[in-house]
């Protein structure tokens, strides 16, 4: 079972906490989670708890184009990819959620 998540809002939005808790719970239930960040969602890399998700085995990738526009620098364990990576998550996951 694989859960795909798209996050497009910045860390001040309640979506961040929802995604954090949802992803953590899913991982505890043995569900694979892949998160893609785009638009202002790339700012979530500055959220410390978000990086803990990567350590817990959540695949995190983002739109490098959006990150470049916003001056978000590279971070370990996060794939600075493209819209192709999102297409791949959407194609492969069993459930997909957008925030």
């Amino acid at each position: 079972m694989k859960l795909g998540i798209l996050l497009t809002t910045d860390p001040t939005h309640e979506n961040t906490n929802t995604v954090l808790n949802l992803s953590q719970t899913a991982r505890e239930a043995g569900i694979d989670v892949a998160i893609f960040l785009m638009h202002n969602g790339v700012y979530n890399l500055t959220h410390s708890l978000f990086m803990e998700l990567a350590n817990a085995g959540v695949e995190i990738s983002l739109c490098a184009h959006n990150a470049g526009q916003r001056g978000v620098g590279k971070v370990d364990k996060v794939l600075f990819g493209s819209q192709y990576d999102l297409a791949q998550i959407v194609h492969e996951c069993d459930r997909f959620l957008s925030f």
């Binding site: 497009t8 785009m38 638009h39 959006n66 819209q83 192709y84 999102l86 297409a87 959407v90 957008s98």
Partner: protein
């Protein structure tokens, strides 16, 4: 009111979709003004075709302004989405706008961008229910 086959999404039929492909619908629902969100949603929609999934875009609410030829983003230096719409038509992606929202916005069907069709809310609901993935943007 005209009837369309609500099982038609993009150029392929929901009932006969190719094995391994997904029906993906992106919902553009916000005004295109003062934000780059809509333009990003359309860019994402083009990207989602890269795995050969069947991608359609539905314009709801104030999002219908983005489907209108009356929109002139150049005037305010906003992102021009001509290339995205051109790509949608080249790739056979379905483009749909809510008829009620079009009426509220005062947009006639003749003022819609190439390939965009006005359809009823119930037809949109049927499309969303039949989709594998719905991404509200």
């Amino acid at each position: 009111m005209k009837q369309i086959d609500t099982k038609q999404v993009g150029t392929k039929q929901v009932g006969t979709k190719q094995v391994g492909t997904k029906q993906v619908i992106i919902v553009i629902r916000h005004s295109p003004f003062n934000t780059s969100r809509n333009a990003e949603g359309l860019r994402m929609s083009v990207g989602l075709t890269l795995k050969n999934d069947v991608v359609s875009v539905v314009f709801l609410g104030d999002g219908v302004y983005h489907a209108s030829t009356r929109l002139n983003p150049k005037l305010i230096g906003a992102h021009i989405c001509d290339q995205e719409f051109e790509m949608f038509n080249m790739l056979g992606c379905g483009l749909f706008a809510d008829e009620i929202a079009l009426e509220r916005a005062g947009i006639a069907e003749s003022e819609l961008r190439d390939g965009v069709k006005g359809i009823s809310a119930s037809e949109i609901a049927d499309m969303l229910a039949a989709a594998d993935v719905v991404i509200p943007f």
